[in-house]
């Protein structure tokens, strides 16, 4: 995805990292000056890029294998819930998230 943003803003963003970058982008969005050119998908791309960069490729593989073994142990021990139970739990979580967003 390529998005053209004003040079001045690009320079500001390049100087920031991580949480500070996200905070500044949110501020810019809230201020509205660049609201037409920056939107949610940029924040999502930044957030997911950070998530993806947590591990090196080898660490990612090791982490995935450990996580799969943990999930399989859950199944073996009966620590599972049905999709219907999970969707009911999600409805409660969703209501909490949306209530938080309105504050």
């Amino acid at each position: 995805m390529t998005i053209t943003i004003p040079e001045e803003l690009s320079a500001k963003l390049a100087a920031l990292t991580g949480e500070e970058r996200k905070r500044r982008i949110k501020e810019e969005l809230a201020d509205g000056e660049y609201a037409a050119t920056i939107h949610e998908s940029i924040l999502e791309a930044l957030a997911e890029a950070e998530l993806a960069n947590r591990f090196t490729e080898e660490e990612d593989r090791t982490d995935m294998i450990a996580a799969i073994n943990e999930g399989l142990a859950d199944i073996e021990s009966g620590r599972t819930v049905s999709l219907e139970e999970e969707l009911a739990r999600w409805e409660i979580m969703k209501a909490e998230l949306l209530a938080r967003s309105r504050k």
Binding site: A47, I68, G71, R79, L83, W90
Partner: protein, 131 residues
């Protein structure tokens, strides 16, 4: 047509379940996106994930066993989930049991961000051309 013949043509419906680990993984990404982006986007992401997971009740064998499959005692498959074309891809790893006490089941094992997105049509053509 006899009832037996009709039954034979009906697709098998798999009950879908979440392991504790898979629940925690889905919650982690949801809360992360809510904090890092917006609560609304997190809700959209999770709703899409739930919808994708729901599709596993039919034909769960359509997805391949993962490359690391030999490391585990049972076959592990993955379903790829991407909220939009611009979003990153997540792997929904799952296991199928045909004859559980409660009938055919699919259980989610783990949800994680894919290290590498699925190949594009152009990349597929390049691979084909090399063969």
């Amino acid at each position: 047509m006899s009832n037996a013949a009709e039954d034979a043509e009906k697709p098998v419906i798999y009950a879908v379940r979440f392991s504790e680990r898979a629940k925690r993984d889905a919650d982690f990404v949801t809360v992360y996106l809510a904090d890092a982006v917006t609560e609304q986007l997190a809700v959209k992401w999770r709703a899409g994930l739930n919808k994708s997971v729901g599709t596993l009740s039919l034909f769960p064998h359509r997805n391949a066993i993962i490359a690391e499959g030999l490391l585990f005692s049972v076959p592990v498959r993955d379903l790829l989930y991407r909220r939009t074309n611009e979003s990153k891809t997540y792997r929904i790893l799952y296991h199928i049991v045909e004859n559980s006490e409660d009938g055919p089941q699919v259980t989610l094992i783990h949800v994680r961000l894919a290290e590498r997105p699925p190949i594009t049509a152009e990349e597929a053509r390049e691979i084909e051309a090399q063969q």
